[in-house]
Amino acid sequence: MELDQYARLRSPIHTWDARWKLIAIVPLIFVCAAVKHAPGLLCAALVSSTMVIISGLPIRHVLKILKGPFYFIIIMTPVLMLTSGGERLISWKVVSVYRSGLYIAARLAIKALSIMLLFICLFGTARFQESMKAMEFFKLPPILLSLLFFTYRYIFLYLEEFGKLLTAARLRGYTLLRGLKGLKSTVSILVTLLIRSYEQSERVYAAMRLRGYTGAFPTLCHFKTQASDVLKTSLLLSLSVLIVYMDVL
């Protein structure tokens, strides 16, 4: 589940300076969100898939990440076909199936999957600290950066703690959210989780302050721009412009 599980691979996307990667991929994400017509959508899908192929990330890992949007699209498609309106494909009593629903679902699928693929390339090909450092370079407030970093750490602590509490509750015969008995155990687990993590975070923060933490974001990574970074960024920005051009054409 870690974001940067495959950050140590070597590929043109992995060796790309994280700052330049942000400059290139973030506008492309918004271009993918903006495209409306088939040529633009196909170009967006092509560019994002090519990026993931070049990155050399294991296909199983990418598919695992895409599972979420994929299920969402599977659920959305029939509902969209029944509710979108427009030209009817089939009509039975008050229920109608609309052709436009299918087109909207396909558009939604391409946009959502393209954006997710680009995001995998952005955060899955650099260590989390490196991505944070790149964001710091673009003047993201230090408090927000520290918050992102701490939250990322606490998510894993919470998940571990939550798993332990759940196992302990199950061993005593309790389950989550099934009837009133389940509600009682759910509340107990959540309150324990909240208080334990809150107290633990205060202790960790006090220890960090004692070791000289001042809110700054120290990492060992140092950026150095190379000609290839500028080239890759220019290429991707040009492709973004091309996608917009194909979409409005």
Binding site: M1, L3, I29, F30, A33, A34, I65, P69, F72, M76, V79, L80, L82, T83, S84, G85, S100, I104, R107, L108, A109, I110, K111, A112, I115, M116, F119, P141, I143, L144, S146, L147, L148, F150, T151, Y152, Y154, I155, L157, Y158, F162, L176, L177, L183, K184, T186, V187, S188, L190, V191, L193, L194, I195, S197, Y198, S201, E202, V204, Y205, G215
Partner: protein, 211 residues
Amino acid sequence: MHISDGVLDIKIIAGGFTAAAGLTALALKKVKSDDIPRLAVMGAFFFVSSLIHFKVGITSIHLTFIGLMGIILGIPSILAILTGLFFQAVMFQHGGISTLGVNTVIFGLPALLVYGAFLPLAKRWKGRPFCLSLAGGILAGLTILTAAGLILVIIRFSGDEFTGIAFVFSAAHGILALVEGVITFFILRRLLKIKPEMLYAYKAGTLESSG
């Protein structure tokens, strides 16, 4: 409960990021570096609570605790919501990256409203934990309905094609509002008994009344 990538028009996405930037700037003004652990813990709690699903008919919905976030954190809850949503989008693909701004507004505004409503109640009902917990639970339930309403309005503004589906999904949130209201009531009862200092809105309200 989140709006996914690909659903919204680019103008709405831009508006969402602008509004979220405004809310974030407001929250950043209220935050000191000492608050970071508290915010991070709540951001992670917001993230993990989305993993608690329960079945409603053929579908399942998950808890959000937006109301509880507003009561525990106050105005800075926006920051915890923003980071929680970011990680939900990148680690579990709940919501989206391009819709991060809009989703922050959908969850953040109701959290602020709950904080604003809870503050005078904490002042008035100091020493009456049952009444306060009940009010908190009701407010938390209303928060879900407000968020569902915001989703409907935003999707309606973005175009007609998703209006039907937005109505279908918003209707399911009536049940979530009820469940979340009841759970928040019980959590607040316990917290007010064990660790009331954790609730910023309670602390601010009672300090105001004693000062």
